[in-house]
Structures are given as C-alpha cells and as structure tokens.
C-alpha cells in the first residue's frame, strides 16, 4: 500500500471540511465539517502508523484518543449550540455577532428573548455599569 493514496484522500477530506466550516451558516453543519476534518487527521494517523510499523502503536492509539476527544467536543459543542438557540432563537453563525447577551443591560431594559435578539438596534444603553461593554461601531444594523 503506497502511503500516497490515503494521505491524498485525507488531504482532500480536510479541504472539504475547511470549505464546510467556512461556507456553512448553520452551526450544526459547521460541527459536521469539523468532524470531517478530524476524520481526515485520523486517516493520516492510521496510514502513517501502518507505514512506520510503530511497535508502540502510537498512531492507532492516538486515533482512538482523537475519536473520543471528538465525541466529547461534539457533546459540549451541541450543548453550547442548544444554549445559544434557547437564548437567540437562531443557530446561524453569521447572525451571532453580538458579544453581550440580549438582556444583559445593567438596568434590565432589554428584551430577553426577542426573535433575532442578537441585533440590538440601539447600542446606547450599555454604558455606565460596572460590566459595561463599549458599543461596537456597526454600519447598517438591520
């Protein structure tokens, strides 16, 4: 078995994963693309373990560790996605560009769960508290 074949396949899978991470809007699809990239790495690890003939089985052991870590990462990632969905009613990554929570004003004047609440049209309320964040300059807020 030439090492080139699995290595090139892993490179292609990694590139497909890069495209998915960059082009997808839904957060769950982004997580799927991350899994594709991790699988490309796993294929590389297995191929080079077979090539080197490692007596310690470092490559395949690391593959198992990567699989377990990917499962843990996906669990925490999906929990975060669900928490974000509960608060913002959306999982589109390009709509989640507010650093503060919608109802995080110190005087409590914001609506906590409005639809699309990540876009606060008036960025003037959040100044004066101890945990105040400066309003970002934002052109053309929808």
């Amino acid at each position: 078995m030439h090492v080139v074949y699995p290595a090139v396949l892993a490179a292609l899978l990694f590139s497909i994963g890069v495209y998915g991470v960059l082009a997808r809007r839904n957060t769950i699809l982004v997580l799927m693309s991350v899994e594709l990239m991790l699988n490309a790495v796993n294929l590389n690890l297995v191929a080079f373990d077979v090539w080197l003939g490692d007596a310690l089985h470092g490559g395949q052991g690391l593959t198992l560790f990567v699989i377990v870590i990917a499962a843990a990462e996906l669990g925490v990632g999906l929990a975060i996605v669900l928490a974000v969905f509960r608060n913002r009613r959306t999982v589109a990554v390009d709509r989640l560009h507010a650093l503060a929570e919608p109802g995080d004003d110190p005087d409590g004047s914001g609506d906590p769960d409005g639809p699309g609440g990540s876009d606060d049209p008036d960025g003037t309320q959040d100044s004066g508290g101890p945990g105040a964040r400066p309003a970002r300059p934002r052109g053309g807020a929808v």
Partner: protein, 177 residues
Amino acid sequence: MTATGLWPPTAQEVVLLLLGVVAAASALLVVTTRQIVHAALWLVVSFGALAGCYLVLTAEFVAWVQVLIYVGAVVVLLLFGIMLTRAPIGPSADLNSGNKVMAAIVALATAAVLVTTVVDGFRQAYAPLVPGRGAAKALGAGIFRNWVLPFEALSVLLLAALIGAIVISRTDIGGKD
C-alpha cells in the same frame, strides 16, 4: 512484497481508492446539500467508507470504533441537535453563508498545497500491510502498556465534558448573579 510504481495500483489500493472516492464524494455532499438532515445521513456514508479504508489499512479495531462511535453515536447526536434546534426538514435556502466563493477559494488552495506537499514528500513511501497489526489484542496491549497515562487523562476529560454539557444545557442552574 517490495515497493513498486504508483501505477498500476494493487488490489488493496484499488479497494482503498474506491472507498476513498465514496468517502470524498459523500463528504462533498455533506458540505453542499441543501437539506440539513441529508447532510447528517451523507455523513454516515462518509464515515462508513472511512471505516472501510481503515479495514483495508489493517486497522480493524479503529474501524470498528469508528463505526461504533462516529456512525453510531456522533451522527445520532448531530440528528438530535438538528431536531432540537427545529431545523426545517425540507430543502432550505439559507444553509450557506455569503462567503461561499471565498470559502471555495480557500479550500481549493488548501487542497492544492496539501496534495502537492504530500505527493511530493511521500511518493516513494510504501507501507507493507501485515494482517492483524491493528487487531484489538495488539492495540489493547499498546494502550494499556504504553499509553495508560493519556488513557486515564482521557477518562477525566470525558467526565469533564459530560459535566460541562449537563451544566450548559440545564436551565435551572443559574450563574453567579
């Protein structure tokens, strides 16, 4: 078996190439399909084909772990996530963000650089396939003899991830307000 030329491929390499074509094509469908549930199902095909690649590479234990964890657990978890975020079942037009062209350019550049480097660097590399190298016995001996400490650290990490996921997703645990 000694190292031969890259072409023609041996029977094992033909099988790996076919499985690789399936894996890459279904991965491409995962990132381009317009139905989010179909993306998860194409992910099953991609992971299954990758498990076949592991089998061809004599990493049989890794292949079964791949089937169990990725095809079994991860995809089910993703489907639960799709269901809980109330994703539409039919085709939806807004699955791609606006930077699709730039993403394609970056991905093509990554693929070009990686494939060029890999082909240039490992053109002569030849791995003889020894059956049973990746069996559960050999791999278990390797993990529990040489990699015990990372294994134990991994169990702590799994526990931490479990607790973290529960704490994040429960609503009746408030912050320190």
